[in-house]
């Protein structure tokens, strides 16, 4: 079935584009190579004629040996099914590719990221500025020939750190004894800082608003990066007319920890604990996606028991995350900390389970390629059973009793920060944000991974796309997760938890793979390219928290400044993942 479908697609593409589009025939690769000049036509065709309306991931790859830059696009149908991959290549020097923002608005931030980190210019992008680093930063760090100040070797594990019997610190080997590196001939005297002029210039027109006779001027307000309601170090620059938002620019990168650059130096297994620190509320879910993508390349399957435990951990994570998100949304609505205390209470109980299985409350590092690190310790299954059947169902009822009909929650949530279904798909919003806008798209159903096809659960969906619905959808999803948990813990089989022997250094055949899961915040995908060496050649994360804020400006326009806080809370971002 899938075969005939893809040959049909191939035929259609052939007849329409001829030579301009060809299947990617490199070993282990998939999808189509598109010529840059045909990219816009091709993307329009893919979206309108083939129905791939959801551009999930855009990223670049630096093929330094072939002297090429490649941009990789993953498009999906919101009705479900596998991806359509297409790629476009350009030269490394002065790389230019047409921008797809006009066709898929969700490409906006991802193209900016590719420009920032890889130096690929997107022609026709409305606002191509650096996004994670600051304006004026020297170089594009993910290029293979760009070296960080603390560069030691291209691949880990590094050599001896105590060569002559004496340990050294990397600080001793770098200028200024600091993690800095300036371009040659740089002198601070002759240098003019770029400042944030382009950021402020990118806001809408600052003209006087007339019409109401007051002749007042627009003002610009910075929220963050240190602001109690931004859930970390997130910054928003809002242009206001009185108290109404005229335009808003999210500014991020204050927690940019160079995950991808470090990930391309690390061996495959070394990246597992780093994934914990992406969306640090949901470390189990991050492990899951990364394990899936590497397992696809290695072609291994975890044993039954491990699959069940994976699902149990992933669903517990979803419960944790949604409790947390609801608690802190209420924080943002002004109910300071009391609802959050209720939420954190339940989270602590689940964290005890995580600690029991993995040894750590937050950074679980529990998944391995082809299995799990450890089996359940004695008594833990009973704890999970108790949570799934007794405690959590009761507590979610309690939470709903306090909040759902609460006057303030309703007034501040209903009709605020609306995103329509078309907009949500266009912006490639994922997870609760997408489903609260009436799009029943859930990777667990749309392209089932692991053993999700065995469980009986519903995709929660709400239709208004406002803050209130994004609250409700999280409550619904907790209930569905509890259903899955109940089934999984009932059916949990005995047996092994690892296929083959656990290995420190895995062998990963060359090729590319994209593993994605429905993480609590939305579709989390890992795009991994292996060249057969012990470290990934390219390691990219499609982070839902990052892409979900693409629609932030659209949701906020016309709202009051106080609502922006609620809107951001309802999107539920985690900065570790937004900035990576």
């Amino acid at each position: 079935m899938a075969e005939t479908e893809s040959t049909k697609v191939l035929d259609e593409i052939k007849t329409k584009f001829g030579d301009a589009v060809s299947p990617d025939e490199r070993e282990g690769y998939d999808g189509y190579l598109v010529r840059a000049e045909n990219l816009l036509d091709f993307a329009t065709f893919v979206r309108d004629a083939l129905g791939y309306d959801y551009l999930s991931s855009v990223t670049g790859v630096d093929y330094i040996v072939e002297d090429k830059m490649e941009v990789v696009y993953h498009a999906y149908r919101t009705s479900g099914g596998p991806a359509l991959l297409f790629k476009v290549q350009t030269q490394r020097e002065k790389s230019v590719v047409p921008s797809l923002v006009s066709i898929y608005p969700g490409a906006d931030f991802q193209e900016r990221e590719a420009w920032d980190l890889l130096g690929i210019e997107f022609e026709g992008h409305p606002d191509l500025r650096r996004i994670l680093l600051w304006d004026g930063f020297h170089g594009h760090p993910l290029r293979k020939d760009w070296r960080e100040a603390y560069f030691e070797e291209d691949q880990k594990p590094f050599g001896n750190r105590w060569p002559e019997g004496k340990v050294y610190r990397i600080e001793d080997k770098v200028p200024f004894n600091k993690n800095v590196k300036y371009p040659a001939n740089f002198t601070p005297e002759g240098w003019v800082p770029e400042g944030e002029g382009t950021l402020y210039a990118s806001l809408g027109r600052m003209e006087k608003s007339n019409g109401n006779g007051t002749g007042s001027e627009h003002i610009v307000v910075n929220l963050g990066p240190q602001h109690p309601s931004t859930h970390g170090v997130f910054r928003m620059v809002a242009e206001l007319d009185g108290e109404t938002i005229v335009d808003l620019k999210p500014v991020m990168g204050y927690l940019h920890r160079n995950h991808e650059k470090i990930g391309e130096r690390n061996t495959y297994i070394m990246n597992m604990p780093f994934t914990d620190r992406l969306d640090y509320i949901c470390s189990m879910g991050n492990n899951f996606a990364y394990a899936l993508s590497v397992e696809k390349l290695m072609d291994v399957q975890p044993p039954e028991r491990a699959e069940y435990l994976r699902v149990i951990m992933a669903e517990l994570t979803r419960v944790v995350n949604h409790f947390w998100a609801i608690g802190f949304l209420l924080n943002d609505l002004g109910a300071f900390f009391t609802p959050a205390l209720y939420a954190i209470n339940e989270r602590e109980l689940i964290l005890d389970v995580f600690e029991a299985v993995s040894g750590s409350r937050m950074m679980c590092n529990y998944f391995r390629f082809g299995g799990l690190a450890r089996d359940l310790p004695p008594g833990t299954a009973e704890v999970i059973r108790d949570l799934a059947f007794e405690r959590l169902p009761e507590k979610i009822d309690e939470l709903e009793r306090y909040l759902t009909e609460n006057e303030i929650v309703r007034v501040r949530g209903e009709g605020v920060g609306v995103l329509t279904a078309e907009q949500a798909i266009g912006f490639a919003a994922a997870g609760p944000v997408l489903r609260a806008s009436g799009v029943p798209y859930d990777v667990r159903k749309a392209e089932p991974y692991s053993i999700y096809d065995r469980f009986d659960f519903d995709v929660a969906v709400r239709y208004n796309g406002d803050v209130y619905d994004r609250y409700l959808i999280r409550v619904d999803e907790i209930r569905q997760s509890i259903r899955i948990l109940q089934q999984a813990i009932q059916d949990l089989p005995e047996g092994e938890i690892q296929t083959g022997r656990p290995q420190y250094q895995v062998r990963v055949p060359a090729g590319e793979s994209y593993g994605r899961v429905e993480n609590p915040k939305g579709e989390l995908g890992f795009y991994v390219i292996s060249d057969g060496s012990p470290t990934p050649y390219r390691y990219h994360i499609r982070a839902p928290s990052f892409i979900n804020v693409t629609g932030m400006a659209e949701m906020s326009r016309g709202q009051k400044i106080a609502d922006v806080v609620a809107i951001l809370g309802s999107i539920d971002i985690v900065l570790g993942e937004t900035d990576r």
Binding site: G136, P175, F176, K178, T187, Y254, L255, H256, H259, E348
Partner: protein, 252 residues
């Protein structure tokens, strides 16, 4: 001071309070260890004799102890989270670990009202100007607690091009809490360690009462890479040395 209280200063800093409840009994009981200006035992006894009828209401202590007792039990942290560690910090504030037991529950969103900056997470180059600015905005007495591996020394992300190898490269740190993330118990331990540190301070030597006002820390600049203004005086020489070395390496 409540009405009806009189204080007698002595040269060595001992003082006596009369009237009201024995408000400072707890201070008197605090351990005498590590005190910078210890008060000889006989001084309390001989110089200020407490009449029999006032014994239950009056206690004698040192100004340092009283002052430190007040500060150590109301360390207000700044509501300021950077990364993963911030989540554990929130858990410490929540009901299970609850640092309000130590007088710390009043988290202030404004640096102007806070005593303690818990640097809870990875310090990036893009963020460090703001962190230094926040530190400068905090009024004295102020403390910094580096929570977790990242804030203490760069942590797992140390090699990253946008990561500062520990917040102590820019602001002085009082307590380091290891861990990634430190468990809530570890953070509590760090906060108690800070209290012990406060206990040891003396009003005679603390920097905020010294004659020279403390200078604000120069704000780092975002250039082609992070520029520390304190490096600027001999910047050219050092940069030249780097380039020379790079050229030599390129040759070999």
């Amino acid at each position: 001071m409540p009405l009806g209280v009189s204080i007698i200063f002595s040269g060595s800093g001992a003082w006596q309070q009369t009237g009201g409840r024995p408000l400072f009994a707890e201070v008197g009981m605090a351990e005498d260890v590590n005190q910078e200006t210890p008060i000889p035992e006989e001084e309390n006894g001989s110089e200020f004799e407490i009449p029999e009828e006032l014994r239950g209401q009056v206690t004698i202590t040192t100004l340092d102890k009283l002052y430190n007792w007040g500060r150590r039990n109301s360390v207000w942290p700044m509501m300021f989270g950077l990364a993963c560690c911030a989540i554990e910090m929130i858990c410490v504030a929540a009901s299970r670990y609850d640092f309000s037991r130590f007088g710390m529950e009043v988290m202030r969103p404004s640096p102007r009202q806070s005593d303690l900056m818990i640097v809870s997470g990875t310090v990036t180059k893009k963020m460090i100007p703001q962190i230094v600015r926040l530190y400068n905005q905090m009024p004295e007495p102020k403390y910094v607690l580096a929570m977790g591996a990242c804030a203490s020394g760069g942590g797992p992300f140390k090699e990253g091009y946008n990561v500062v190898s520990g917040v102590d490269k820019f602001v002085p740190v009082d307590v380091y809490v290891p861990g990634c993330p430190p468990t809530p118990q570890a953070l509590l331990h760090g906060l108690i360690t800070l209290q012990e540190k406060i206990d040891k301070q003396s009003i005679q030597s603390v920097r905020w009462y010294s004659k020279q006002a403390s200078e604000p820390i120069p704000i780092p600049i975002l250039g082609p890479d992070l520029i520390d203004p304190r490096d600027l005086p001999d910047f050219a020489e050092r940069q030249a040395a780097v380039e020379e070395k790079a050229a030599a390496e390129a040759k070999t």
